[in-house]
């Protein structure tokens, strides 16, 4: 590999890392973004291989993001909603779980995906001043729902409909927290 090629690849790693940093809370990034990028560049310069570098960074990102998430107000809110939802799921599962299609399971899966989708969108694109990405997510989920409905809609229990309903509820629960309850506390 020639030196310019190597330099180009290194800068690609740094760009990727800069993008991944957006997953941290905005207040944390405001304090440490410049330092973290410099540290990554230093680590990249000293790393024996790209694999070793990304192994360290991957582990670090996972652990610190989880730690940051659980320490944040949004994290505590998500846990609260999740616990409430698990209770509802458990009741739904024991009451309706044995019917064809396991509706409670489908709604629960959809709910988790909905929460996750809005959470990732907020981290990557910031707290919305308008609802463009929520509309984007909604359009995507409608497309997925249409495909799912056409494929599985006629089976007992209408799983696509259940997943879609759960997805919308999941999106809504996080959206309410981020935009309406405490927009600065995420």
């Amino acid at each position: 590999m020639t030196r310019p090629e190597r330099r180009q690849k290194e800068s690609r790693s740094l760009r990727l890392y800069a993008r991944l940093l957006e997953l941290y809370p905005p207040a944390f990034l405001q304090r440490h973004r410049a330092e973290m990028l410099q540290n990554f560049a230093d680590l990249e310069g000293a790393a024996a291989s790209k694999a070793a570098l990304w192994l360290l960074i991957g582990k670090d990102l996972t652990m610190s993001l989880i730690s940051n998430f659980f320490a944040s107000q949004l994290g505590r809110y998500v846990i609260g909603v999740l616990v409430a939802w698990i209770l509802l799921f458990a009741i739904g599962y024991y009451r309706y779980g044995s019917t064809p299609g396991h509706p409670a399971l489908h709604v629960f899966g959809g709910f988790l995906l909905g929460m996750l989708a809005v959470f990732i969108a907020t981290r990557l694109y910031g707290t919305p001043q308008n609802s463009s990405y929520v509309i984007g997510l909604l359009v995507t989920s409608i497309l997925i729902f249409t495909i799912g409905y056409l494929r599985y809609g006629s089976t007992p229990g209408h799983p696509a409909l259940q997943v879609f309903g759960g997805f919308l509820l999941g999106m809504l629960s996080i959206y309410i927290k981020i935009v309406l309850i405490s927009p600065q506390a995420t």
């Binding site: 941290y24 944390f28 304090r31 440490h32 410049a34 330092e35 973290m36 990028l37 410099q38 540290n39 990554f40 230093d42 680590l43 360290l56 960074i57 582990k59 670090d60 990102l61 652990m63 610190s64 993001l65 730690s67 940051n68």
Partner: protein
Amino acid sequence: MSKSEPPLPLTPAVFHILLALFGKERHGYDIMQQVKADSGDAVKMGPGTLYGSLDRMIGAGLVAKGNTQDPRRIYYRLTALGRTTLRAETDRLSRVALVARRQLGSA
């Protein structure tokens, strides 16, 4: 957590950061390298873990930011409470190690 009492026991990451900063101001990358060396490669800390820990340690009054102009190279130093905490944790670990050695010796 009270800012006048050492918050013991410490996590391995916090203990190693305090140890790395003892007697010398260091920036983030320097801290990571020192932690790696002090722990004999057992503790490999990435930027996310380091700055998450430093935020908590600054909040607890163990560490303070030094005077730095460059936002990419911010230096950190131990506070008086940080030094007291490091000594207290070192004593605690020594006592635990002593007990462990005694128990292993008698087994």
